[in-house]
């Protein structure tokens, strides 16, 4: 089919959280034009925050996403604490890391088991997966249940927690409640190791991309809530320097801003970037499990993001159990201090990659300006490049198979549009 002209388009997506479309024109095996666009109207969260109290930012921004509210809560909280000069003690920071593990588990397991795994098995959705591989779905539901439980115990409920605030937590959970989770967390790790072994048997499409990886990096730990921003090209900057190195810009075909370096270079955030930049921060036995499954540091195959996600699930269970064993309730569960005018920055590792917050506040704590750069925005240009690479690499597939492969490539990112299962409409124009 290399001499044919084919137009591949992802038409308007129904049932998606973020409407989007992908169009690519292929001539003689080469892509001559492509557009990945998100045309959902802007939701104006940043404008909505102006004039409101600094205390509202975590709860308001958490409504941006029902899958990763903790990422928004923590990023906003850290930025406000930075602006106000409040220092969060280690026990509160550890409790934040613990609840964040719950969000990683919830989000990653949903994606690996129920949204992405069917792609690798030629199945339409999790319903078909449950019919053909019930054990894998049961495994995922059990692991996710533990993630939900972790969120409920610390955050008050499993989605959109209500116990978090600038400075920490309204009420620290009891040691008994947290430590009662340990057996389930240990079981969750075992379940997740078994799932990784199952995923390792998938047939991963052979594709390598030239990525600029960007992630947080911590002095000792695998990054979740803290760290400096690093990249595979040697960047190593503090969180506040994010706007001096990265920007969002408008493209004519999309309502969503696209992230890039100030030099205009696209970059990749998320599990594959985190793994590649922080593999040495994983416990040795977990890294060995990753390598045994076919995921080694330096991996540039976007389809193996599934493995990176699952490795992070194993780590999240291990880390959560460690934190739970060491837990004693901080009293009080939050810090606070005097208000002051200022500017603050916050970045954490959301399941899909770094999520940046910047706020300017007045002397009374009112928000004057807000900037939020979510991971899917940062990845948007790279998603388009991955699709181009996928189409060129697999252009000899028939239309249905190529359509499938493109959908699979988009779901590598677990972007908001990934929830639309099998949404591609493939139009072929033959020369």
């Amino acid at each position: 089919m290399s001499d044919s002209t084919r137009t591949i388009s992802v038409e308007a997506l129904a049932r998606v959280e973020g409407e989007g479309r992908f169009k690519v024109r292929l001539e003689g095996g080469k892509v001559v034009r492509s557009e990945f666009s998100i045309f959902e109207p802007p939701r104006y969260f940043e404008g909505l925050l102006r004039g409101r109290s600094y205390q509202d930012a975590p709860d308001v921004t958490s409504r941006i996403c029902g899958i990763c509210p903790i990422a928004y809560i923590m990023g906003a909280s850290q930025a406000m604490e930075d602006a106000l000069g409040w220092q969060v003690p280690r026990p509160i920071a550890d409790l934040r890391r613990l609840i964040y593990c719950g969000e990683w588990i919830q989000s990653h397991v949903l994606h690996t088991h129920l949204l992405h795994a069917p792609d690798f098995l030629g199945l339409q959705d999790s319903i078909q997966l449950a019919q053909s591989n019930r054990g894998l779905v049961e495994n995922g539901l059990a692991a996710k249940k533990t993630g939900n439980l972790l969120m409920e115990v610390i955050g008050g409920r499993s989605v959109h927690p209500v116990n978090t605030r600038v400075g920490g937590f309204y009420r620290a959970p009891s040691a008994d409640d947290v430590q009662a989770l340990i057996p389930e967390l240990e079981r969750g790790e075992a379940l997740s190791v078994a799932a990784l072994e199952a995923f390792a048997g998938f047939d991963f499409p052979d594709l390598e991309m030239d990525y600029l990886f960007v992630a947080l990096r911590h002095e000792t730990d695998y990054p979740i809530t803290e760290g400096r921003i690093v990249s595979s090209s040697g960047l190593d900057i503090e969180v506040a320097a994010f706007p001096a190195h990265f920007e969002e810009h408008q493209v004519p075909h999309s309502n969503a801003l696209q992230g890039a370096t100030l030099d205009g270079e696209p970059y990749l955030v998320g599990p594959l970037a985190r793994f590649n930049l922080n593999a040495d921060r994983l416990p040795a036995d977990i890294l060995a499990l990753a390598e045994k499954a076919g995921l080694a540091p330096g991996c540039r195959n976007p389809f193996k993001s599934l493995l990176a996600r699952q490795v992070e699930v194993i780590y999240a269970f291990r880390e959560a159990a460690r934190l739970a064993r060491a837990y004693t309730p901080p009293e009080p569960g939050f810090v606070e201090g005097p208000l002051r005018a200022g500017t603050g920055h916050g970045i954490t590792e959301a399941p899909r990659g770094i999520c940046y917050h910047r706020y300017e506040i007045a002397e009374d704590g009112a928000i004057l300006a807000a900037t939020i750069v979510p991971p899917t925005s940062q990845n948007q240009r790279q998603i388009e490049l991955d699709l181009v690479g996928t189409v060129e690499r697999f252009h000899d597939l028939d239309d249905d198979a190529l359509q499938w492969r493109c959908e699979q490539a988009i779901r590598n990112y677990d972007p908001c549009i990934s929830c639309a299962t099998h949404f591609l409409k493939l139009d072929v124009e033959r020369a």
Partner: protein, 164 residues
């Protein structure tokens, strides 16, 4: 978990801070105050499976959009009916929603013996916790009917509330 797993349960699905999308949680909280086994839930599918599995009966109350005049009740007792999936329940599709949870529960044998979904057509889904007047009226009527019934899970009672 708000009740023993051998009892039926009412699950009110929705976002309490998004006006009429919060009608499910509103009804659930009111029923709980009246002594019925009821819980508010955000609607995440795997969580719904956990709540309703192994129970003899379950009623899910959720907001509908664009399905007739605001405040209209629609009861779905046959969840294999395509009308159920077409009903435009207000839910996030970034995760497993109610229709997917029902289908997955059916495949895995995790549905209650009897499961009915009551949809209430909303008028407003913006920011705020207040229900619109027609939805509030419908919610109060539903609360009185279920709380006053000898058996809130009775199929004939539910069928009388509004067909799909």
């Amino acid at each position: 978990m708000s009740s023993a797993p051998d009892s039926g349960i009412v699950i009110g699905v929705g976002q309490a801070e998004r006006q009429d999308d919060g009608v499910g949680p509103y009804v659930a909280r009111a029923l709980k105050q009246r002594g019925l086994p009821a819980v508010a839930h955000e609607g995440e599918g795997s969580g719904l499976l956990e709540l309703w599995q192994f129970r003899p009966a379950c009623i899910v109350i959720d907001a509908l959009s664009g399905a007739g005049p605001p405040g209209r009740l629609r009861v779905f007792a046959d969840l294999e009916d395509p009308a159920f999936r077409r009903a435009a329940f207000v839910h996030s599709t970034h995760r497993l929603g109610l229709p997917e949870a029902v289908a997955l529960g059916r495949t895995l044998g995790r549905l209650p013996d009897r499961l009915a979904v009551i949809g209430i057509t909303g008028a407003a889904f913006g920011f705020g916790s207040a229900l619109s007047p027609p939805v509030a009226t419908a919610a109060e009527g539903l609360i009185e009917t279920l709380a006053g019934a000898k058996d809130a899970f009775d199929e004939d009672l539910l069928a009388g509330l509004g067909g799909a």
